[in-house]
């Protein structure tokens, strides 16, 4: 479909993930400093970002450790929070399944919300799966996430009020900036509105698994309105 040269695709991968990486820097700092505060060693704190590489799961597990929660609670919340990645994995299945094992493993390891969002946009734009683009955007995000964790570890406990700053807005802003331009049909618009409504409602009602549930309801509604699917 596209004749975009490989080099400019690689540059695009870097520059497309950059704003999302910038928005996540405060979260990396928070992760690093919170890890130190709840008693992890600097090496453990960094290993968490190096190996687990999942902001929301890391933050919630650190909060549980801070509240002296048990191992089962930590692993359970990790599984629930990261279960949305199953959907990303399924979305890329047809493109990934024929890849060599090392590419599959690397791509899975780097498959974050942010990498998925930019790569899925690019895939729809190109009409084919851009492996280089996925790996470069994922790796860029990985490096920035780990550097910001390191900054938080070094800062340690000297920034205790970080949580009250409203950093979650940075995440909301990046996701809004990703989603709004990708709304290209009325089924997608309705799907997004339904997901938004359900997510707010479930949040107010403290419904468990609100994220996955509200996303799936929006997806079902959008799909059922989608004439091309029939």
């Amino acid at each position: 479909m596209s004749t975009q040269p490989a080099r400019s695709l690689r540059l695009a991968a870097f520059f497309d993930i950059l704003p999302l990486s910038i928005a996540v820097i405060p979260w990396g700092i928070l992760c690093g400093s919170l890890a130190i505060q709840v008693g992890l060693s600097p090496l453990q704190s960094q290993l968490m970002s190096l190996l687990v590489f999942a902001g929301a799961a890391q933050l919630s597990s650190l909060t549980i450790v801070g509240a002296s929660g048990g191992i089962a609670t930590i692993l359970g919340s990790t599984a629930v929070i990261s279960s949305r990645h199953l959907l990303y994995s399924a979305t890329f299945r047809n493109s990934a399944i024929a890849l060599p094992l090392h590419h599959k493993v690397l791509m899975a390891f780097l498959l974050t919300d942010e990498m998925f969002a930019v790569t899925e946009n690019k895939r729809k734009e190109l009409g084919r799966f851009p492996l280089d683009y996925a790996l470069i955007s994922g790796a860029t995000f990985y490096v920035i996430w780990n550097l910001s964790t390191l900054a938080g570890i070094v800062a340690g406990t000297s920034i205790p009020n970080l949580e009250s700053l409203g950093l979650e807005f940075a995440i909301a802003a990046t996701f809004i900036a990703m989603v709004v331009p990708s709304i290209n049909s009325s089924p997608v618009l309705v799907a997004v509105l339904v997901s938004a409504f359900c997510a707010v409602l479930f949040h107010k009602l403290d419904v468990p698994n609100a994220l996955l549930l509200s996303a799936l309801i929006g997806m079902v509604v959008g799909y059922s309105l989608d004439k091309e699917a029939l």
């Binding site: 899975a108 799909y223 699917a229």
Partner: protein
């Protein structure tokens, strides 16, 4: 927290990301299922962003001083007007933090 626990967490997050890349999985994604999954990105990202922006909406006069709501609406309007993601992110974060200090 122990090293084992960090490793277990890493295994869980990796499994969630790798699960559908396994060839052995007895699932064939036909066109319909692919079509369904094409709604994943907009719906999940929206479901994460919406409670942050609208979570504290009270449907009262308090809402006009809610920086999450105001800056969130500005982010939506800006993304309709401007194609540049970086600009939208930085501008709406700027608006958010100014509102937060002013209000």
């Amino acid at each position: 927290m122990s090293y084992d626990l960090i490793l277990l967490m890493a295994l869980i997050t990796f499994f969630m990301r790798y699960a559908f890349f396994m060839e052995k999985l007895p699932i064939k994604l036909n066109l319909r299922l692919q079509r369904f999954l094409s709604f994943t990105a907009p719906c999940i990202l929206t479901a994460m962003a919406a409670p942050i922006v609208f979570g504290e909406v009270a449907l009262s006069s308090e809402d006009i001083t809610n920086p999450f709501l105001l800056a969130g609406i500005i982010a939506v309007v800006l993304s309709l007007l401007v194609k540049n993601t970086l600009f939208v992110v930085l501008a709406s974060m700027g608006v958010f933090f100014s509102l937060k200090t002013m209000l």
